[in-house]
């Protein structure tokens, strides 16, 4: 808690120190100046969500609806090499509200386009899905096994190294604090091994690709070691009918010191077609797990998740979306219809 408070305080101080900083003549990659030369941007997002559990005789059967999230964020370029970015949100699951800081970052780029550092609270850059906040109303179940939470945000340092001064191929590595708060007694614990990630990535207007190694040993949880790879292809924005296709594959182990390990192989596929203001898509994911003892291997129930959606952009900041989610493991674990209205302003 102290470390986090100190970090947020340092963000405030960063502005004051920037006046003393020397002009280095380099540019910040992560915070490009927009066409109007504006050094800042403020974003405001609201999501209204209605959900219906379609499983019979379940307490969640009746429709729930609530103002799911209000978020305020933005970034400010202090000088050419230093910028700050932050986003805070209040999230509600219909029963209780939770305030949290999604992002509170210092962005530092000491060598023009070659090295960039992100220091602070941020989404773990593991795969393509985790960093896409609120992309879907829920993430596939295997992500909870990798991160011990559906999405993962932590305090840490991520460094991007672009040896060829471009994004066709670059390295990204990160180390995070890994402190977790146990819900049972609200006691926080330090990790045995801090979460760390190393990725080889490629990026352009039309694609994203990654190869990643990620591991952690959080307090109260089993250690996880994960290898993943995947890519996303996107058609040019000016095409009348646009498309996206994504595939991610993860092999990860839940390791136990006194018990059998669990080997997991997870797939995620996503396809989307967009025409005019209308979008249609489908996400499929599957996780095959095996319990591995010294001399045997048992298959655990396969986890399958399907999500189909349709969205319509009413105006530039206003999007409505309908999602149908079905998750099966042994039996139907989730069968939900979700309606979302997303409003996002940028100043």
């Amino acid at each position: 808690m102290f470390i986090r408070s100190a970090f947020y305080f340092s963000l405030v101080l960063a502005g004051a120190f920037s006046a003393l900083a020397q002009e280095s003549g380099t540019s910040v990659v992560a915070l490009p100046e927009d066409a109007a030369g504006k050094p800042y941007e403020i974003e405001f997002e609201i999501e209204y969500r209605a959900q219906e559990d379609r499983r019979s005789e379940r307490p969640q059967t009746k429709t729930r609806h609530s103002l799911h999230e209000i978020a305020l964020g933005g970034h400010y370029r202090i000088e050419k090499t230093i910028g700050v970015r932050g986003e805070m949100a209040v999230e509600s699951d219909g029963r209780e509200q939770r305030f949290f800081v999604k992002e509170a970052l210092i962005l530092y780029s000491p060598w023009e386009n070659y090295v960039e550092a992100r220091i602070g609270q941020q989404f773990l850059p593991v795969g393509l899905v985790n960093e896409r906040d609120d992309w879907f109303s829920s993430n596939p179940g295997f992500m909870e096994k990798i991160f011990t939470a559906e999405k993962s945000i932590d305090l840490g340092v991520v460094t991007v190294f672009r040896p060829y001064n471009q994004e066709w191929i670059f390295l990204e590595g990160g180390v995070f604090s890994g402190r977790v708060l146990r819900e049972e007694d609200e006691r926080s614990g330090s990790p045995e091994k801090t979460p760390r990630v190393l990725s080889l990535k490629s990026k352009s207007e039309f694609h994203d690709a990654f190869l990643t190694y990620f591991e952690h040993d959080y307090a109260y949880f089993d250690p996880v070691r994960a290898f993943g790879g995947g890519f996303e292809l996107r058609s040019p924005r000016h095409w009348p009918v646009r498309g996206e296709f994504m595939i991610e594959h993860w092999r990860f182990q839940e390791i136990q010191s006194a018990g059998p390990d669990v080997d997991n192989q997870a797939w995620l596929l996503h396809g989307r077609v967009e025409w005019w203001r209308l979008g249609l898509g489908h996400r499929f994911s599957q996780n095959n797990s095996h319990l591995r003892t010294v001399n045997s291997r048992f298959a655990l129930p396969t986890e399958v998740s399907r999500l189909s959606y349709v969205d319509f952009k009413i105006a530039e900041p206003f999007l409505i979306r309908g999602e149908a989610i079905k998750e099966v493991q042994d039996e139907v674990v989730r069968d939900e219809l979700v309606a979302r209205a997303l409003l996002s302003w940028e100043i």
Partner: protein, 207 residues
């Protein structure tokens, strides 16, 4: 030859008795089970279906009849078998007309409380819903609901009423903290002077 034949006959007899002792409820979700060490007063059941994982949320429905005034059954969740006993243990016991529950994670002493809202039927039968969260974001958490509404056992609790706030026992509400968690993906039930009537799993109710 005669000795071998007698062993086979004995085995068949044990199996026959076990089938009488264990009535599978007529549900699609029920998986085949493996019975080991079944005796008149003390039995152990190891179920053949695996749990969702070593770290998962599981919901069990268990119906049992307490044969004596002091009798009990123990649910072993997320364990690797009776030789290891490395799972979360939930022991439900009858002491005259009171029902008590003891919960423990591997290597630690159990926490105990009376299920004062849970009433047994006059014939000693009881049906409970037990939800075990093990090694997931909520840590280890155990919730218990009495699944029978009338004293005669005629009505079962409507499933729509099974939620966090209606639980007759919630380890978090009790303030119990489990310092370890289950190490396996199997489940089993051990009985002492208890006739097991039904045992199956459903998708969890609490997230």
């Amino acid at each position: 030859m005669a000795a071998k034949l007698s062993v086979v006959v004995m085995a068949l007899l044990i199996c026959a008795c076990a089938e009488e002792n264990f009535e599978l409820a007529q549900r699609r979700e029920i998986q085949a089970h493996t019975k080991i060490d079944i005796q008149a007063d003390h039995s152990r059941y190891l179920f053949a279906d695996f749990l969702k994982g070593v770290n998962s949320r599981e919901h069990f429905v268990i119906g049992a009849r307490f044969v004596k005034h002091k009798s009990s059954f123990t649910l072993h969740s997320h364990f690797n078998g009776y030789e290891y006993r490395d799972g979360v243990r939930i022991r439900v016991s009858r002491d005259q007309d009171e029902i008590w529950v003891e919960c423990a994670s591997p290597g630690f002493l159990p926490s105990r409380t009376e299920l004062s809202n849970v009433q047994m039927n006059p014939d000693g039968t009881l049906r409970l819903r037990i939800e075990v969260h093990d090694g997931v974001s909520t840590g280890v958490r155990i919730l218990i609901w009495n699944d029978v509404q009338s004293l005669q056992g005629e009505l079962q609790r409507a499933r729509v009423t099974v939620n966090e706030s209606t639980a007759d026992m919630d380890s978090r509400r009790e303030g119990w903290v489990f310092e370890s968690h289950g190490r396996g993906a199997r489940w089993g039930i051990e009985t002492e002077d208890v006739q097991l009537l039904t045992a199956y799993r459903e998708a969890p109710y609490v997230h």
